[in-house]
Amino acid sequence: MIEARHLTKRYGELTAIEDVSFDLRKGEILGFLGPNGAGKSTTMKILTCCLPATSGTATVAGFDLFRDPMKIKARIGYLPENPPLYLDMSVRAYLGFVGRLKGMSGAKLRGRIDWVVERCGLAEVKDRLIANLSKGFKQRVGIAQALVHEPEIIVLDEPTIGLDPRQIIEIRSLIRSLAGEHSIILSTHILPEVKTICDRVLIINRGRIVIEDTVDNLENSGKKLEEVFVELINKEERAESLSSEAH
């Protein structure tokens, strides 16, 4: 569903991501794992056509990032770090608005809103103003807006951040239930999340991909994912400081 090749994003002297290449296969859940500031959000913004890449290419749902961004935007659902919620709208009105922005209308949209409200557990708050919702519900509305237009690909940036343990479990099972029909990229720095939800994981640090593999393979060596993660990050940082010393 996604083929990213050598994506690079620079802001002047600062390099946010460099030479990021990976694939998202149909129906799978791919995790982006990395410390804060690693470049996970930047990569997601590029794939959702929110930000242009400095160089590199990508094919999303069969369409080229630069040539057909409109077609990509219609097929991708995105939950950014801060859910783009209009606080002065009710949940249902907001989802209707998002649906219309994506090109839906009429009875199909109404049916879809009902489905999404049900699936994301928003039934009891569907007519409440978004400003009056708790963080957990706001996050669910954020996920709902990423689903309302039946996208092939869903990109979730830290979907469980700030939620309480019970809400986290609910959201994770919701995400897992979406796999298969949808292809999902999810970013996080919570390791247990990767283990419980993701099929494959991409570890990113300082804008570069450190490793891409299935969770099982990474844990195969008998080590836990946490150890593997810390080891890889440290190894890479040591290598980087060595090479900068050499200059």
């Binding site: 056509c49 929110c50 935007k73 219609a74 783009p84 606080l87 002065d88 922005l101 209308s105």
Partner: protein, 261 residues
């Protein structure tokens, strides 16, 4: 088209959900009402005066000199132009700036929308609010027509002129809002530009050379004068139209530049 109207609908609904709409409408009608009262009182005084003169000089024609259009409608409209320059920026300041501040612009950028969808959708929303605002002045005109007998043409065209000026100010306000994420900033930028367009008229009168002529052409008042007198020329329409398009185009550029930063 549906996407554009969806944005317009959201903008309009948003106006009436927030207290901004109501405070703007209240302030606007109150100030206009006070001025209207002053103007009508002035008219009444003059009328009484001329009644006396016409009796003294046995000349009923004199009474016709107290013209309702001249003394009430025209000053009211001129006043409203100045009020619009203050008030329209308050209507438009949040259109883009707030989206940027609250992060909801990401939703617009990742949906299959062109920049024109966004700009025109918001423009239409603010325009409709402006139309509602100006419709509230209908009550004053209603009073004038009920008790008096002004000429219809200048009144209709004067009102149309106000709508056109307001629309130019909306376009300016939308542009200003697209430059910043701070609403106050947006207000002052659009207020300054609006004021500039008004002032160029005065500067144009002071300079008699070609520069003066150009400045006069750019001023809003120059093009409004015809409309208040009941004259609708293509030159005036082109003036208003090109300013509107110019600022909408600038707004589009500003939006795209910010997005592709």
């Amino acid at each position: 088209m549906g996407k554009l109207l969806a944005i317009t609908g959201k903008e309009l609904r948003s106006y009436f959900v927030s207290p901004v709409a109501y405070s703007v409408l209240t302030v606007f009608t109150t100030i206009t009402g006070i001025y209207f009262y002053v103007v009508i009182s002035n008219f009444y005084t003059r009328f009484r005066q001329f009644e006396v003169y016409s009796q003294i000089y046995r000349n009923p024609e004199l009474l016709a000199k107290v013209n309702l259009n001249e003394l009430v409608v025209a000053p009211l409209f001129q006043f409203l132009v100045i009020v619009l320059i203050f008030i329209v920026p308050a209507i438009t300041m949040r259109t883009v700036a707030e989206e940027r501040k609250s992060g909801t612009d990401v939703l617009l950028y990742t949906s299959p929308l062109t920049t024109w969808h966004i700009i025109l959708g918001k423009f239409l929303g603010s325009f409709l609010f402006l139309a509602i605002l100006l419709a509230c002045t209908g009550i004053f005109l209603g009073v004038v027509f009920y008790y008096g007998n002004p000429e219809l043409g200048p009144v209709v065209l004067g009102w149309l002129g106000l709508l056109l000026i307001g629309t130019v100010l909306v376009a300016i306000g939308l542009f200003a809002s697209s430059l910043t994420e701070n609403q106050i900033n947006a207000y002052f930028i659009s207020f300054a530009i609006g004021l500039l367009l008004l002032i160029t008229g005065w500067a144009g009168q002071l300079l008699s050379s070609n520069m003066g002529k150009m400045l006069t052409y750019l001023s809003i008042n120059e093009h409004y004068k015809d409309l208040v007198r009941g004259l609708l020329t293509t030159q005036d329409l082109i003036y208003f139209g090109s300013f509107i398009l110019f600022f909408l185009f600038l707004a589009k550029q500003a939006l795209e530049r910010a997005k592709w930063n």
